[in-house]
């Protein structure tokens, strides 16, 4: 099967999965008690059932569930996710404005986490101090929850030393301030990934190192560095990729807390707050984006997998 056909097939299945997730989430939030209009009006005095009912009608929430579900799915294909009641704005616009921050966080954290993890994992095999670093710092980083790590970083670097802002986001138009605000959250997210990846990389390198082809490489006089890069690290990367894809998936979840601690307007915190006020359009929209992201990551990982290990793609 050609790569294009394979991708097309995976994308089609992915699309079906996205729609399934949408239907499940739609039905699930209908089952959960709590009404968006009631929640929205909960702090307005003198609100009686007649006001609630009038508002429900205005927002189309009085229509039967199947009709609303169908409307939603049809809207999805036109990239119309509906209007957020809380923000009085198209859910699509809100999500796209939040998405940039989330993607930036996830991509940077994944990049530094994975590259750093592979680097330190390799270092731990090749040098003694690298080995110590991994065996001491790894479990420590992994045992500290992300928000604690984030809070400690803020306390140390922002509140005490004043080197970096304590949180928040600056627009892209101010690149320096923007990057400054990303430093701590990216470190917070990337460290546990780096620790995990380093461990896996180390394990895989030790595993691959005993393989016959490594002996062949040495037996044919390749310099140590070439053998390491060409015949050990390259082969060790395949399982590392699998773990990386899993970590990347988990990263979306991890961003929720980091967004909170560092006051970043990302998708995770948006989804959490949307659930907290039953903002249906935002919930559906955020889930749509996140599930699409997951599926794309998985397809990308599979394609990368085939690239790294020809046995997968050729069979």
């Amino acid at each position: 099967m050609g790569l294009a056909a394979y991708c097309a097939k995976r994308l089609l299945v992915g699309l079906a999965m996205v729609v399934c997730v949408q239907v499940i989430i739609f039905l699930a939030i209908q089952v959960v008690p709590g009404d968006p209009v009631e929640a929205m009006m909960s702090e307005t005095a003198g609100v009686g059932p007649e006001v609630i009912e009038a508002l429900r009608q205005q927002f189309g929430l009085d229509k039967p569930i199947p009709v609303r579900l169908l409307d939603h799915i049809v809207g999805l294909f036109r990239l119309d996710l509906g209007t957020s009641l809380q923000y009085n704005q198209s859910a699509f616009a809100i999500i796209t404005s939040r998405l940039a921050v989330s993607i930036e966080l996830v991509v940077l954290a994944a990049f530094f986490g994975i590259v750093g993890g592979i680097f330190f994992g390799s270092l731990s095999v090749r040098t003694r101090w690298g080995d110590r670093l991994i065996s001491v710092c790894g479990p420590f980083i992994l045992s500290v929850p992300g928000y604690v790590l984030g809070s400690v970083l803020i306390l140390a670097l922002s509140l005490t030393l004043g080197w970096l802002p304590a949180g928040g986001m600056a627009p892209f138009s101010d690149p320096l301030a923007h990057m400054q605000r990303l430093v701590l959250p990216v470190i917070t997210l990337a460290l546990p990934i780096a620790a995990t990846i380093a461990k896996v990389t180390r394990f895989e390198i030790l595993e691959v190192r005993t393989q016959d082809w490594v002996r062949t490489s040495r037996a044919y006089g390749f310099p140590t560095k070439v053998t390491f890069r060409r015949d050990i690290l390259r082969n060790a990367l395949t399982p590392v990729l699998t773990i990386s894809a899993l970590e990347l998936g988990g990263l979306i979840g991890a961003t929720v807390l980091v967004e909170k601690v560092f006051n970043l307007p990302g998708l995770g915190s948006l989804l959490v707050s949307a659930v907290g006020i039953r903002d249906y359009a935002l919930i559906q929209g955020a889930v749509f984006v996140i599930s699409t992201f997951y599926i794309i990551i998985n397809i990308a990982a599979d394609i990368m997998y085939g690239f790294l290990d020809p046995r997968v793609s050729k069979r």
Binding site: E38, M40, N88, P165, G167
Partner: protein
């Protein structure tokens, strides 16, 4: 500007300020106080919507962009705003004279017709306006000329002006008067300059504002900090110069910093609701027993880290002559009396009830835990039900509880606010489920019809007497509501009482930076 920030950061901000003030830099230079305030705001206000209440953070933004006929001054009094003068012809008829030459930020004129259109829109039930309770009795709005507006109500309402000073009652242009429309253009002291959706909102001083000469700031940059710890951190780190809604757990941290000022006042209150349709709380004696069983000091300590005021009666607004101080002294903490009341009501030891609270707000949960212990001491086993906010709201509105914890922030200062809390759900979502308050409402309405404060006070007292015995709702404590700011920020004041939420936002137009 925070001293700890690195030079280039300061430079960046300074450049930002320069850009911001560029349009009216002459003025700013001339008065030398044209600085921009960076404000850490407790919620993302989204796309402003005209009419409905969307929480305290949006009130603050509304009060900068929009202006109504009247507003609150630093003493909590109603003063003219877009209206040059006003007059209560009688408790159900109000006449306003608009200032000359009023315009919105976009230059379009504001006439009596504009005002009528706005208020008519808010009187529409399906808008869900914050002041709908007051406008539901609107009889007519007359506009004899371009600067005169006469509002007639079908029932007297002595607090009508309070409603018109509400942050959600600014006068808005026709384009905002539709569902889903954005409401960014107003008649307030600041206009929208940039909206970095989800991150920040930049406002610049508006030249169209009627009182622009007394506006000190060149602009305000609101940065959203939904997390209370992150908000306080931003203030301490110098990322912002002022924040609203300081978390109670952070009071000490702010007070310990000499460069910061904590401005806390007794603000909104927390209270208990009863399901009066079901035993045992259908019996007033049982409700009275609860009123005597709750140790309010403990609630303040548990829910607000000690930053609050116990309430032994209904919350009264300071400086409002329509309240009698006795209204604040209805019940005392007396477990023995509570037990006696329960015994006389025939309630057996070990009564089991459900106690509804919400896990969304920690102070709700902590208050419920404190109340649970107090009830246990008098022989009532309260089982906690702590779902998230929408589920809590649904349960509260549909009577799926025995006892419930609730929070209230009245938008008017006069005793008429009680009406929303005594009338039972589902008619009023703030009240105890199934409670019939027609007798209390009758006295309140009678009070509203009287223009003499003393006579009205006596009428309100009759209502409160019924409240004492029937306990339709049980106020427990007033929580401290705090703003915090750098000591370089001057001219700001947190208004005490309910106005902390609905009135304090008006203070920013007088705020300046040293």
């Amino acid at each position: 500007m925070g001293l700890r920030r690195r030079t280039f950061l300061g430079l960046a901000t300074a450049m930002g300020v320069a850009a911001l003030t560029g349009s009216n830099s002459e003025l700013a230079l001339a008065r030398d106080s044209g600085k921009t305030l960076t404000f850490g705001l407790s919620a993302n206000v989204g796309n402003l919507v005209y009419g409905p209440s969307r929480g305290a953070a949006q009130f603050i933004v509304n009060q900068q962009l929009h202006r109504g006929l009247v507003k609150f001054d630093e003493n909590g009094r109603i003063v003219p705003a877009l209206a040059e003068s006003f007059e209560a012809v009688d408790p159900s008829t109000y006449r306003f004279t608009l200032r000359d030459g009023l315009t919105f930020h976009d230059g379009s004129p504001i006439t009596s017709a504009t005002v009528k259109a706005s208020l008519d829109y808010l009187a529409n039930r399906s808008v869900g306006a914050a002041i709908y309770a007051a406008l539901s009795t609107l009889a007519s709005i007359e506009t004899p000329d371009a600067r005169t507006v006469v509002i007639k109500l079908s029932k007297p309402n002595a607090s009508f002006l309070d409603y018109l000073a509400d942050p959600n009652a600014g006068i808005s242009p026709a384009s905002a008067l539709a569902s889903g429309a954005a409401n960014w253009i107003g008649a307030g002291p600041f206009k929208l300059q940039a909206n970095d959706s989800g991150v920040s909102l930049t406002l610049a001083k508006a030249d169209t504002y009627y009182d622009k000469d007394n506006v000190a700031l060149a602009g305000i940059k609101f940065i959203y900090y939904p997390d209370s710890t992150a908000r306080t951190n931003a203030l301490i780190a110098g990322d912002v110069q002022m924040i609203d809604f300081v978390g109670w757990e952070d009071f000490d941290r702010v007070e310990a910093d000499k460069k910061l000022v904590l401005d806390a006042v007794p603000g909104p209150f927390v209270y208990m609701l009863f399901n009066t349709e079901r035993a045992p709380f259908d019996n007033p004696k049982v409700r009275q027993a609860v009123a005597h069983a709750i140790n309010r000091e403990n609630v303040v300590a548990a829910a607000f880290y000690g930053h609050g005021t116990p309430l032994n009666g209904i919350p009264v607004s300071p400086g409002n002559d329509r309240f009698d101080p006795k209204m604040g002294e209805l019940w005392t903490y007396d477990p023995d009396k509570a037990r006696a009341l329960l015994a006389s009501a025939g309630v057996a030891e070990g009564l089991k009830v459900s106690l509804l609270t919400s896990s969304t707000y920690s102070f709700f949960r902590d208050m419920a835990l404190s109340v649970q212990a107090d009830l246990q001491a008098v022989g009532i086993e309260a089982e906690l039900d702590a779902p998230d906010w929408p589920t809590y709201t649904a349960s509260k509105n549909s009577g799926k509880y025995g006892l419930a914890v609730a929070g209230g922030a009245p938008s008017v200062t006069g005793p008429v606010y009680l009406q929303a809390y005594v009338v039972g759900a589902p008619a009023s979502s703030f009240g105890s489920y199934g409670y019939n308050a027609s007798d209390i409402v009758a006295h309140i309405q009678a009070g509203e019809a009287l223009s003499n404060d003393a006579a009205a006070r006596a009428e309100y007292m009759k209502a409160v007497d019924i409240i004492r015995d029937a306990v339709p709702f049980l106020p427990v404590a007033q929580r401290s509501q705090a703003f915090a700011r750098s000591n370089t920020v001057e001219g700001f004041k947190n208004l005490p009482g309910f106005l902390s939420i609905t009135g304090t936002g008006y203070m920013l137009e007088k705020t300046s930076i040293r």
